[in-house]
Amino acid sequence: MRGSLLAGLVISFCLLACDSKAGAPPSQEAIGDRIAYAKQLLAEAGYPGGKGIDKIEVLYNTDEGHKKIAAAIQQMWNKNLGIKVELRNSEWKVYLDDLSKLRYQVARRGWIGDYRDPYTFIELMKSDSGNNNTGWSDPEFDRLALASGAEADPTKRYEILRQAEAILLRDLPVLPLYYYVSQAAWTDKVKGVYQNIMDYHPLNEAYVEGSDTIVINNGTEIQALDPALARGVPEHRVLNAVYEGLTRSDPRTYDPLPGVAESWDISKDGKTYTFHLRDCAWTDGKKVTAHDFVFAWRRILNPTFPSDYAHMLHVVKGAEPYNSKKTSDPLTVAIEAKDDRTFVVELEHPVPYFPELVTHYAFHPLRKDVLEKYGDAWTRTENIVTNGPFKVKEWRPNEHVLLEKNDGYWGAAKTRTRYVKFLPHDNRLTAWNLYLTGKCDWVTTLPVEKMKEIIQRPDYHGATYLGIYYWSFNCTEGPLKDRRVRKALTLALDRDVIVKHIAMQGQVPAYGFVPPMFDAYKSPRFDVKD
């Protein structure tokens, strides 16, 4: 508790310093209006001046950054609404447990989009979503989310999603705070690396000037080399370098480019994709066939197979019923190898981002014979067979994962680096020291305590990132059951101050839930009068 008190003091100073600056911040007026409206809502709900609300408990997983934000929220709710706030932190696994069992009032959340479509955020709040964890559900929201899938016209589809988001922002089971920025540093010798809103950098054309190796600190030890068992961004980096799906990402724009599939046809109704596979091989020389995709997709969907990412495939017709044991026949999943080089997928509904979706490692092909031969040991360096631009050369736990260029890869002529070395160091300061002493070329995590000086550096690379940092409300009990209270709490935070003086990394204040990064999508806002 003493820690949070101290943090609170620091934040008070921040706020004071900010208030005393000559010339009010540009949004001073807006925040004043928002707070006035918040007070009014609170009074309407029966809690004038915060009276009647005993206290609100704010839960976050133990982390310096979250702690500062929590302390700011505490301070702002107290100052603006007269509500007493208590902070509670717990370690990651306990925090997750509390979230899923709704043992909290307000909790820290965040989400990075899996693909570039508003649906990756809307989907989180469906009543059956594993990410909801608020107790909130709205039949109209669920209906719209579902209806968006059936809509083939992109403009109308966005409009349906926008309506769904408007419902979310009306009821506010979530408290949007800011949109993330991606952060990394790489030296000026690193070439062929570009920024995009997914913060994903294919390594096909990346290299380090004057070196045959590119050394990347990956931020943590990867948890698996089996694409169906992996989860997380560090795994993504390694897996997408050693495997290739039907499509791959353009390093500059993240748009899907032909991968194993040379081309694909889409049926008129947008539901059937026919992928034409190129003549390409696995690292052991055998051809990549459509059967490898059928095998891999059925494997991850098998309900007894423990995968975190099976839900990504639920857009495929018949996938969800099979995956959730509504049927036991894998043949009901609408995927088919017409011949060795033709792979046909029928979707539940049109999915405009499907070619982008299949770049994800959950959709990578796998070799049935290799998995059967080696069982659990198939991902060991001596056994693993892959089909991407790199192959696994060495994996020393907690030391490095070393990849070597796959000369048999169809696009090998464009691969620039001989080796890629992923370091697993999760201590950000240690990683930063490694970078400063030239032991790695690229750090994917940066130490929070040094950010102020790091963002001034020319080798710092920050970019808008398709993700939202938000807090969620437990909508099932107490004053937070009342959406007016939730709205008052959501309005009474000065996001400009939080972004500028507490988060301090160039994040963008959020007044909606879906990041405003889709051109034709008009994001609604929560800070409007009902």
Partner: protein, 311 residues
């Protein structure tokens, strides 16, 4: 002596068993699940996980199975690193942790003992005060602070020494990577050893038999080295047992600061991710090491002091 050894050995095994029972229960009692994630998994998938890892069985069956593995040095599959066994992580990590721990311990003795003896020979004079100030500083500055400070100074500012990582080969340049971690690990023990050495020597040098030795005309050097030292350092020897435990646990922090791929990181990550098998593997390996070293220290102590053997 043999009876003494057998008794000690049996006690060690019993201790290890008790540790296994308790840690096993604690891993099962800890809140949170290894399979909880930000996106809640379908209950069927969690069931599939639990079946795969045998977590659906009654607790005593799980423990019996695990125990059968432990005696064969097999800790089972990891829940955090999927499709991999705990042994694949512990084995390479253990060697590095032991090497670093050994370096730290030896360094602590090489510096700490002479420092303490030197201080005792100059009791209450400037060399004594200087040595003891250094020792106090060593105790006060925690290694998670000392490590980054040393890196800041010697790696980033002066650029004399590399900041991190494990040596790739046996060359001097690569081995120099171990200097800062070793100092960081040893510092607190240098401090304790020198204080214990000083106190032990002062105690002994005031004993009657030393007076006798002086009275019969031996020169001060002979008295000090031959009669004083042997008995004066016994407190330091008894410190060696606990020190092994401290060096090993201390290396958890040092490994993190210096990005050394030792056992400590697996222990911490295992605990944070509720990887029960990984936690058990690390706990048992650490415990076995500590018990083994205490056993060795007991033996040495028995050799130095006959009274210990009898009781």
């Amino acid at each position: 002596m043999l009876g003494f050894l057998i008794r000690r050995f049996a006690a060690g095994l019993a201790t290890l068993f008790i540790i296994a029972v308790f840690s096993f229960c604690f891993t099962r009692l800890a809140p949170g699940s290894p399979f909880s994630s930000e996106r809640q998994l379908h209950p069927e998938i969690i069931k599939a996980y639990e079946q795969y890892y045998g977590l659906d069985k009654p607790l005593y069956v799980q423990f019996w199975r695990a125990l059968k593995g432990y005696v064969r040095f097999d800790f089972g599959p990891s829940t955090m690193y999927r499709g991999r066994s705990v042994n694949e992580y512990i084995e390479p990590g253990l060697g590095k942790s032991i090497q670093l721990g050994f370096l730290g311990a030896v360094f602590a003795f090489l510096i700490g003992l002479p420092l303490g003896v030197f201080a005792s020979a100059h009791q209450n004079r400037i060399p004594d005060h200087a040595a003891m100030s250094v020792a106090t500083l060593g105790i006060c500055v925690p290694n998670f602070l000392l490590g980054p400070l040393l890196v800041q100074l010697f790696s980033l500012k002066l650029k004399w020494l590399p900041s991190t990582l494990w040596p790739e080969d046996g060359s001097l340049k690569e081995l120099s990577k171990l200097i800062l971690p070793t100092i960081t690990l040893a510092m607190v023990h240098i401090a304790y050893i020198s204080r214990l050495g000083r106190a032990g020597m002062l105690d002994v040098m005031n004993k009657d038999y030393i007076r006798t030795a002086r009275a019969k005309g031996l020169n001060e050097w002979t008295v000090f080295v031959k009669h004083g030292l042997k008995n004066g350092v016994t407190p330091v020897v008894s410190y060696a047992g606990p020190m092994v435990a401290l060096v090993l646990t201390g290396s958890i922090v040092v490994e993190k600061v210096f990005a050394i791929p030792g056992l400590g990181q697996h222990f911490v990550n295992g605990a944070l991710n509720r990887d029960a098998n990984m936690i058990m593997g690390c706990v048992l390996v650490y415990s076995a090491l500590v018990i083994a070293f205490n056993f060795v220290v007991d033996v040495i102590y028995g050799l130095l002091d006959p009274r210990v053997r009898v009781s």
